[in-house]
């Protein structure tokens, strides 16, 4: 099971964090700080997997953003890389060639996509189509009660 997922920038700014097991706030901060330090210090050609505390860390860099997942001992590292990749694909499809700014300004949307994709630390739906369908359904709802200036409309998605 995935324990948590972090998104942070090359400059060490945390963009998204999702914790799938109960963790105290202070520990979270400490872990995030430590992990960022470790991951950011690694060179581009190095291995994407780390053993850290009792966890396995799988990270991958997409442009200026690092996607970093913590998984348990028995989990498969390679498939976790694909989880990250699929998440990026979903973001990309939703935002239309996603960039870090999309995630900064629409972080709640990114969270919604993540929630639709992973639930309780396990992958929920592997089909790209149905994840986006679920998101769009909720977005349509939003459209009904939101003003025409809605973000979505302007994005041409609604």
């Amino acid at each position: 099971m995935m324990r948590f997922m972090l998104l942070f920038s090359r400059q060490g700014k945390l963009r998204l964090q999702k914790w799938y097991t109960a963790t105290a706030e202070r520990d979270k901060k400490k872990m995030v700080r430590e992990l960022m330090q470790i991951v950011l210090a690694r060179k581009p050609k190095m291995c994407s997997f780390l053993e850290w505390r009792d966890l396995k860390i799988v990270y991958k860099r997409y442009a200026s953003l690092y996607f970093c997942c913590a998984i348990e001992e028995q989990d498969n590292e390679l498939i976790t890389l694909e989880v990250i990749h699929r998440f990026v694909e979903l973001l990309d499809k939703y935002f239309g060639s996603v960039c870090e700014l999309d995630i900064i300004f629409n972080f709640e949307k990114a969270y919604f996509i993540l929630d639709e994709f992973l639930m309780g630390g396990e992958i929920q739906d592997t089909s790209k189509k149905s994840v986006l369908k679920a998101i769009e359904q909720s977005d349509l709802l939003q459209e009904e009660d939101e003003s025409p200036r809605s973000v979505l409309e302007e994005m041409g998605l609604a």
Binding site: S9, Q11, G12, K13, L14, Q17, Y20, A22, A24, E25, R33, I38, R42, K43, K45, M46, C47, F49, L50, E51, W52, E72, E73, Q74, N76, E77, L78, I79, L81, E82, F95, G96, S97, C99, L101, D102, I104, F105, N106, F107, E108, Y111, M119, G120, E122, I123, Q124, D125, T126, S127, S130, A134, Q137, S138, L141, Q142, D145, E146, E154, M155
Partner: protein
């Protein structure tokens, strides 16, 4: 966020000014959030950021508390608040508004509200209780999206104790027509299962329904739960193996809708999940594994493409192949696969390859040789992760020959180790290797010195403990021990003469203990020198008071002669007034003992470390004092966890109506004194859950016994063969790096990846892999690898030290398994014996006993077995089919064992007679009879042949039971067509869920060859349970006296009116308990284990479950009994 460099702030504006940004970002930057983000990026210092955010938070605070703020505005404010929090600024004032938003908002506002709640609060936050109602409402909503949101939030953060409140609604969703809802419901239940397994125990059959769901997504979701359950109890789900294999076959065969493809690979997540499940099911189970082989082969075949995702599947296949019962052609393919990983240019694959090698290296040392050059390269890899994993691999192949090189590499890595976790782990490994394989004293002590100084005070405390134990217990030779100790003393004295400020505390403690105990061995250093060195340590600022105690102790042992006494007096005067009581006590001891040398001799005799001390762990000598204090009105002792529970009890929310619960628990208070089990509340049930969770072990391949090699078992012959080329490869005389090898390494038996590896590397390789594959053969022959094996022995004796990698264990099982293996391989024999057992089954009219099972295992040398099998076929006449069968039936009818039951035992309650084994014409069967307070085991041996069987001997032994023979005289010969009866009386020594007796039957064949046959008889512990007739008052006093307890929630069986009475009566009748009393929602029961070991049980209805609390003076008894209670209730 405080740790964010200013760099970020300067980097963003340039990003923002990029015109090529697609729509959403640019546009939303005009919103308030956009303004905020832009504002922040324009700032130049952290201080300004702080000011801006504080201002922002002030304005948010003002707006959220204003009554005029609409929900839509609230949503917008919430997003901004989340952003501020994510930057590390606290915005706790909005938490309550987040909950309000989730409660009152329309769909999208609600969604933001739920998101905010899940980001702001953690599972134990008290505000979450306010969320329960909202979730309940949304779960019942007709709006699908609201239901989805509720299920999502429930699986993210939900207070454990609130699960019962929403569980029925979530369960209901399993039948929802929409698959997305069903899927989310299954995942929510999975989450509940993880955090509170007992709460979802009753819906296991619904999981099965989810598994059979027509939607593959729902089925996939249900596999998460199955993976967990199967991991915990593989036995319970063996019947599903076929289904899982079928699903995997269909997936691999591309039968799923194309939607499930990921980069044109069909449902890889599902595949990996299934592979993991199958590996749990097939582990140590030949029959199940046989069902799996084909689909594994198919998966391997289909996955041969060069894609990352297929590598993921391949890796999982390899893990599965090495976990389940081995099959040679699959192992071969898996080994090839691992080779591809290791040799891959992709660093991630290389890393996983190394990891896989680490798993399999012990069972297949050849793999290490094959990849030795890659391993050497990885050892110098710039990526520390790769390096670390390589060391792990080398750790697994360490032996007495290569230990020096490997430990050197590990210590080298440790010198610049990146973090504490790695240090702790590696230090432990170095210590383990040093203890196991040290080539000599000097090396051992020096390595341990490095371990102590590098490991510092973070290392596992058992390292210094076992080191000291090893020194004090010594080995076989007194002289050798003396040398080791002497060397340690010398080494420590010279260490202390140098710079001591950097030495970790625990090392100082080790040093002072060794010096105190053994410095008399050294002639070079007199005691006063040592005393002065120790005194210097005492004066150091860094020395902790615990270390000071150790030093004072050492001084007490050393203060002899006038100079010694003088130092001692000085020191003790300094510390005798210390604020630390322990330190003060040690100083007092030092003062008194230094003056009275006779007393000192008596208290601290030299070389006394070996005498085991008797420790009364139950502190029974205090009983009198305790009862005195109790009589004088003192409150009885409560163990810490109970005190905590009582505290928690006060805080925990009660889900029950007060009216009923209150008077009842008060009445039970009066029954059983203040120490009654009433505090057993929801909180205690839940604390049980949390331990359950922590017990769940992961797929730990390292602990798995490795007896299999690529060609099946690691047979003795194979490794001997392998040993020869290795020796050819390594012309090394001393296993060190500096050795002058003659450089004729070109005859490497395995192709090396680099065409011209440089000499240095080859030398390293030869010293690293020296003896790698000859290792197992050495052990197989039972020859100790070197004189220093003794250290390993000492280590094995040390309690609490896990010997997970000892290769000395494996060969034993190898030998055993080899026999089994031969048994299986010899198909000829196999078919005959299979036929014969089948025949006997058909012939014997007996039904296997419900609660007795038996295992047979033939321990004959092969040649004997061949002959004996031939005689089987002759004696039983199995070769002719039907005619012989009917004849046999006729002759057998009068051999029915039950008619041979001893007269005095007839009419007593007994188990059904179960067949144990057959050996030639002899058939063994057994049953157990309850004779009052005695348990009698009766073994029948019937001889169905026409000849007499001679010199029969029956030996029974058991670790759990005391077995005494009660037959008058043991029958030695059995005439043809008669039955001999043996009687044994059984008593429980060590309770277990089931208890087992192992037996050996030996006899002479008519031909005169001796034969032996093993069997075992298992009976449940419940056979030894009797009611304990006591009154409530007696129960109350007994309850206080028992120290071993277990608490668990069990299912309540409902008959419609009185569930508690019904359930307790059911338990009473099925398990032979005494129902002492039922008061309201609570009941107490008592029983005893034969002969006279009581166990008390307290039950309470709570939240639809039965919370039981068992106590007994026998450690294992409550646990076993709870298991049986659970089984009885589940069967119901």
């Amino acid at each position: 966020m405080s740790y964010v460099g200013e760099k970020t702030l300067t980097a963003l504006p340039s990003l923002l000014s990029l015109d090529s940004q697609p729509g959403p970002a640019k546009l939303s930057s005009t919103s308030k959030l956009g303004n905020l983000i832009r504002g922040i990026t324009e700032l130049t210092s952290k201080h300004e950021e702080e000011k801006l955010i504080q201002r922002e938070l002030e304005s948010i605070k003002e707006q959220v508390s204003s009554p005029n703020t609409s929900m839509r505005q609230m949503k917008e404010l919430m997003v901004r608040a989340i952003y501020c929090e994510s930057l590390g600024y606290e915005a706790s004032f909005v938490y309550i508004h987040a909950i309000k938003l989730a409660q009152q908002g329309t769909a999208l506002e609600k969604r933001v509200g739920y998101l905010a709640v899940s980001l702001f609060l953690n599972e134990s936050h008290e505000l979450l209780l306010l969320l329960v109602n909202t979730v309940l409402k949304d779960l019942q909503s007709t709006n699908l999206i609201e239901v989805c949101m509720a299920l999502t939030v429930v699986s993210q953060i939900f207070p454990k104790e609130m699960i019962p409140a929403i569980l029925p609604l979530v369960e209901e969703k399993l039948n929802h027509p929409k698959e997305i809802i069903r899927r989310k419901a299954v995942l929510a239940l999975y989450k509940f299962y993880l955090i509170a397994p007992n709460q979802v125990q009753h819906i296991h059959n619904k999981f099965r329904k989810a598994l059979c769901d027509k939607d593959p997504g729902v089925m996939t979701a249900s596999l998460h739960i199955y993976l967990q359950m199967i991991q915990e109890n593989p036995e319970g789900y063996k019947d599903l193996t076929g289904s899982f294999v079928n699903i995997l076959k269909q997936v691999v065969g591309g039968k799923l809708p194309i939607d499930f493809n990921y980069h044109s690979v069909p449902a890889p997540w599902l595949q990996i999940h299934l592979l993991r499940i199958l590996s749990f099911l097939g582990k140590n189970d030949l029959r199940t594994s046989e069902l799996i082989y084909e689909v594994l082969d198919e998966s391997l075949r289909r996955a041969e493409m060069n894609r990352n995702i297929t590598y993921a599947i391949l890796y999982e296949c390899v893990k599965c192949i090495y976990t389940i019962h081995p099959k040679s052609n699959l192992l071969e393919k898996a080994a090839k696969c691992i080779g591809n990983f290791v040799l891959s240019p992709d660093i991630n694959l290389k890393y996983l390859g190394l990891k896989a090698l680490t798993y399999v290296i012990q069972q297949d040392p050849k793999m290490a040789l094959q990849h030795q050059m890659t391993i050497i390269e990885c050892l110098d890899h710039p990526d520390l992760i790769i390096k670390r994993e390589t060391l792990e691999l080398l750790f697994r192949i360490t032996n007495a020959q290569n230990v020096v090189v490997i430990v050197e590499k590990m210590l080298e890595f440790l010198q610049n180790s990146p973090d504490d976790y790695t240090t702790i782990d590696l230090v432990g490994k170095v210590a383990e290797l040093a203890e196991k394989y040290a080539p000599d004293n000097e090396w051992f002590i020096e390595t341990m010195n490095t371990v102590f100084s590098l490991g510092g005070d973070t290392m596992q405390p058992d390292i210094p403990n076992s080191f000291l134990k090893l020194l004090s217990e010594g080995f076989d030779s007194v002289e050798e021990d003396r040398k080791l100790r002497l060397f340690a003393v010398d080494s420590y004295v010279s260490l202390l003469q140098g710079e001591t400020r950097k030495l970790p505390q625990c090392f100082l403690q080790v040093i002072s203990w060794v010096l105190g105990e053994y410095s008399h061995l050294s002639e070079d250093h007199n005691r006063s020198t040592v005393l002065r060195l120790l005194e210097k340590l005492l004066d150091m600022k860094q020395t902790s008071s615990e270390t000071k105690c150790w030093i004072l102790m050492a001084m007490t042992k050393l203060c002899e002669g006038t100079a010694g006494v003088c130092v001692a007096q000085q020191v003790s005067e300094t510390y005798i007034s210390s604020m630390d009581t322990v330190l003060r006590q040690r100083a007092q001891e030092l003062q008194h003992l230094s003056q009275d040398s006779e007393l000192r001799e008596e208290v601290l005799p030299r070389d006394s470390g070996l005498d085991p001390m008797e420790i009364d762990s139950s502190l029974s000598f205090l009983d009198e004092f305790v009862s005195g204090a109790l009589a004088a009105g003192a409150a009885p002792y409560k163990p810490p966890h109970q005190r905590q529970e009582e505290l928690a009890e006060a805080k925990v929310l009660s889900l029950e109506p007060y009216g009923l619960a209150l008077p009842i628990s008060m009445s039970s208070c009066s029954i059983t004194d203040r120490h009654s089990p009433t505090p057993l509340s929801m909180s205690s049930g839940l604390s049980g859950d949390s331990t359950d969770v922590s017990h769940r072990a992961g797929l730990k391949l390292d602990g798995v016994q490795r007896v299999w090699g690529r060609d099946g078992y690691l047979a003795k012959k194979e490794s001997v063969e392998e040993a020869a080329p290795v020796q050819g490869l390594t012309p090394v005389h001393s296993p060190s790096l500096q050795n002058e090898g003659d450089g004729s390494h070109s005859q490497t038996p395995t192709p090396t990846p680099t065409p011209e590896p440089d000499r240095e590397k080859e030398q390293l390789a030869s010293s690293l892999f020296f003896g790698v594959s000859s290792q197992s053969s050495v052990c197989l022959m039972g020859k100790p690898d070197s004189t220093f094996n003794r250290r390993r022995k000492a280590k094995v004796q040390a309690p609490g030290v896990t010997e997970q990698l000892s290769s000395s264990v494996a060969p034993v099982s190898n030998a055993v398994d080899n026999l089994l293996c031969n048994n299986l391989q010899d198909s000829n024999i196999n078919s005959v014996s299979a036929a014969s057992s089948k025949q006997t089954c058909e012939l014997s009219p007996r039904v296997p006993a419900a609660n007795g099972t038996c295992n047979t295992d033939c321990g004959l040398p092969e040649s004997d077995r061949k002959r004996s099998n031939l005689s089987i076929s002759r004696d039983n006449g199995l070769v002719d089919a039907d005619s012989a069968l009917s004849e046999d039936q006729g002759s057998r009818s009068d051999l029915c064992p039950s008619s041979y039951l001893p007269a005095e035992l007839c009419g007593l309650y007994r188990s059904e007679i179960a067949p144990l084994c057959t050996a030639h014409s002899l058939e063994l069967s057994a049953c157990h009879v309850h004779q009052g307070d005695d348990m009698i085991l009766i073994i029948f041996i019937s001889n169905s042949s026409d000849s007499q069987v001679l010199q029969i001997r029956l030996d029974l032994k058991s670790e759990q039971l005391k077995v005494t023979c009660v037959s008058d005289s043991s029958v030695e010969n059995i005439k043809s067509h008669t039955v001999a009866v043996y009687q044994y009386s059984l008593a429980v020594k060590r309770p277990g869920v089931d208890v087992e007796v192992d037996g050996t039957l030996s006899f002479l064949l008519p031909a005169g060859t001796p034969q032996t046959k093993h069997f075992s008889y298992k009976l449940p512990l419940t056979a030894f349970i009797r009611p304990l007739l006591i009154s409530t008052e007696e129960y109350g006093t007994m309850w206080l006296g028992f120290s071993h307890e277990v608490k668990q929630n069990l299912t309540l069986v409902d008959d419609g009116c009185e569930p508690l009475t019904f359930t307790l009566n059911l338990l009473k009748n099925r398990l032979q308990l005494h129902l002492v009393e039922i008061i309201g929602l609570e009941g107490i029961l008592a029983c005893r284990l034969l002969q006279n070991q009581p166990c008390l049980m307290h039950c309470r209805v709570h939240a639809g479950a039965l919370a039981v609390w068992l106590r007994s003076p026998v450690p294992e008894l409550p646990d076993c009994l709870v298991y049986h209670c659970q089984r009885v209730l589940q069967e119901k």
